[in-house]
């Protein structure tokens, strides 16, 4: 098992390195002079040249990459030239918001997706199954910014039950905090459940055809035990995978949802950095998000191993 983890960790290194290189190249090769952006259009050429020297922009590309990477490895991702905040500070401040949003969204998504999938699989082809499969398909075509608009219109504008925008930390006012999070989390969850439901449903339908399910019936087990233990447990692996894959989409989703609902999370930080052309923050956040994504996938792989006895015992 330890061997397995180490091997996977080592396999992750080249990917992380390539991710950093790509992030760096996007920021460096594409048109748009960082010095010019910082100083504005009215800057004199001398000023620009001086700043370029200060920032090391006149050095060769490979050298700039290595020195940047050197700093990154030491935890120095740079400092915003607009707010003076370091990337790490800015990210650390906003991470709790995004995490809370993603966790609540995934939780609500599972809360809708899993029971629907089980109910559909138990009576595959029935009226409920066909209706929910159709709804899930339609929901997959519904971009989250549409869902957001619809929910805001319904619950904030028409019914006035929930606030459309705003945020307070959970530690200050837990209830108000949750009220602010309901609509954004629901928006993301409504995009999440169809994927969860579809994958789990087809997985469980396949499982229910297995010999061991027939044997479980022949053993006289209760239908609930057959469904929830014998059929659902083999599918938990699939569920972990889907959840892991979802995180990439969720990250993209937080970007939009945080902007719409004015939640001060990572997504809003990124969008704000783009509006203000704060390239240091942009580069740093993209790098962190991409690395975080790679690491999440690694963790999903590990969970896989813990959940599936066949992998755990090296019988892959």
């Amino acid at each position: 098992m330890l061997n397995f983890i180490v091997r996977r960790l080592l396999a992750m290194l080249p990917v992380l390195l390539a991710v950093s290189l790509l992030t760096f190249l996007i920021a460096s090769l594409l048109p748009g002079d960082l010095a010019l952006v910082i100083l504005g259009d009215q800057a004199t050429p001398e000023n620009v040249a001086a700043l370029r020297r200060d920032m090391g922009l006149d050095q060769p590309l490979w050298w700039r990459y290595l020195s940047w990477l050197g700093h990154v490895v030491q935890g120095d991702l740079g400092r915003s030239f607009r707010t003076g905040q370091t990337v790490l500070q800015a990210v650390a401040e906003r991470i709790p918001v995004s995490l809370q949003l993603m966790l609540m969204a995934e939780f609500i998504g599972l809360l809708i997706g899993v029971p629907v999938a089980i109910a559909c699989a138990a009576r595959a082809g029935g009226a409920f199954d066909r209706f929910m499969t159709g709804s899930a398909f339609a929901m997959l075509s519904m971009p989250s910014f549409l869902t957001a608009i619809l929910l805001i219109y319904l619950f904030a504008v028409e019914l006035r039950w929930l606030p459309a925008t705003g945020y307070v930390p959970f530690t200050e006012e837990p209830l108000a905090n949750l009220r602010f999070f309901v609509l954004p989390a629901l928006t993301l969850a409504l995009a999440e459940w169809p994927g969860i439901m579809r994958v789990l449903r087809s997985d469980m339908i396949a499982t229910l055809q297995e010999d061991y399910i027939a044997l479980a019936k022949a053993k006289g087990l209760k239908p609930s035990r057959i469904l929830f233990v014998h059929a659902l447990k083999p599918s938990s692996l699939t569920l972990v995978t889907v959840t892991g894959i979802n995180i990439g989409r969720l990250l993209g989703g937080t970007l939009i949802v945080e902007s719409i609902f004015a939640l001060p999370g990572i997504g809003r930080l990124l969008v704000g950095a783009i509006y203000t052309r704060d390239l240091v923050i942009l580069q740093g956040v993209v790098l962190l998000v991409a690395c975080g994504f790679v690491i999440v996938n690694f963790i999903v792989d590990m969970l896989y191993a813990v959940l599936d006895p066949r992998i755990r015992h090296g019988h892959a």
């Binding site: 080249p14 990917v15 390539a18 991710v19 790509l22 996007i26 920021a27 594409l30 048109p31 748009g32 398909f137 339609a138 997959l140 075509s141 519904m142 971009p143 989250s144 910014f145 549409l146 608009i149 619809l150 805001i152 219109y153 504008v157 990439g248 989409r249 990250l251 993209g252 989703g253 970007l255 939009i256 902007s259 719409i260 990124l270 969008v271 783009i274 052309r277 390239l279 942009l282 993209v286 998000v289 991409a290 690395c291 994504f293 790679v294």
Partner: protein, 290 residues
């Protein structure tokens, strides 16, 4: 082992099942919708429409009328004209970007699946790197550097689609490369190029084209999201996403300004998904095993 299993001739196994599945009413409605939107978008300049960027500050958020069939938006621009010209932008990006993915990703997948070995490892590895970036964030970042314009948007979204097309093409090639007709061609001494182009490509292209339609749907969504945030198509050019974004501010007084483009976007994405999914199910190489 002493079994009485008798070998069953092939014709029995390859019973003609599953192929002649009916396409269904929904498929045809969706195709019709795609056709209508496509022709409206293409014909927009010659249709008797008002100018989508002409403002009329006296007629802001006007209701439906003979002059403005669908009313006007917050700046007094004709909503119908903006919807139809918005379709132009959404469909241009939505159709061209996946073509980049189709061509580049398809070629990479075909080559990786056929030659295997180091080349395949390299291709799959670099795609993993690209996949490490959440697509929307990648697109946002690159567009922010490159500058907001339709071509830039198209290229970025196209590049983002490459890994998915690569996977589809590679998977299809891997299953095909072991089939008799490919092995036979190899045995007959056909060149790699000939096998790739004559034997594999025609069979891989079908699943790829079905996947292309799903790619169109995804691209329209991402383009819509970027424009919604004001980071996609630059104003005053109308795009469904930016129209929804602008309409959001008047949800209380004129919700239709958000809901009209929202309905158009949803219907179009759903239609592409429906058509694409139906065709994918039909062209899935694994389907034969039913």
């Amino acid at each position: 082992m002493a079994t009485l299993e008798l070998s069953v001739p092939d014709e029995e196994v390859a019973a003609p099942v599953g192929r002649q599945r009916k396409l269904g009413l929904l498929f045809w409605i969706a195709s019709a919708w795609v056709a209508i939107i496509l022709s409206l978008a293409i014909l927009a300049p010659v249709l008797p429409l008002q100018n989508p960027v002409d403002m009329d500050m006296l007629e802001r958020r006007a209701a439906f009328s003979a002059e403005h069939w669908l009313g006007t938006d917050g700046l007094g621009r004709d909503e119908l004209a903006r919807l139809i010209f918005g379709a132009r932008v959404s469909l241009t990006v939505g159709l061209i970007a996946p073509m980049i993915g189709l061509v580049v990703g398809g070629a990479l997948g075909l080559l990786a699946g056929y030659f295997r070995g180091r080349f395949e490892t390299l291709v799959v590895g670099s795609m993993d790197v690209l996949l490490a970036f959440p697509p929307l964030i990648f697109a946002l970042a690159v567009v922010a550097y490159l500058g907001q314009s339709v071509p830039n948007l198209t290229i970025v979204l196209g590049v983002l689609g490459i890994p998915a097309f690569m996977r589809v093409a590679r998977a299809a090639t891997l299953t095909l490369a072991r089939r008799e007709f490919v092995i036979a061609a190899e045995a007959l001494g056909a060149s790699h190029a000939r096998i790739l182009l004559r034997e594999l490509l025609p069979n891989v292209i079908l699943p790829l084209l079905a996947f292309f339609l799903l790619g169109v749907a995804v691209t329209i969504v991402v383009e819509g999201a970027l424009s919604f945030l004001g980071l996609g198509v630059p104003p005053p050019m109308p795009s469904w996403g930016s129209m929804i974004g602008e309409g959001r501010d008047s949800l209380d007084v004129a919700p239709r300004l958000a809901f009209l483009p929202a309905a158009a976007l949803f219907a179009t994405v759903l239609a592409f998904n429906l058509v694409g999914d139906t065709l994918r199910a039909l062209t899935d190489p694994r389907q034969g095993a039913l």
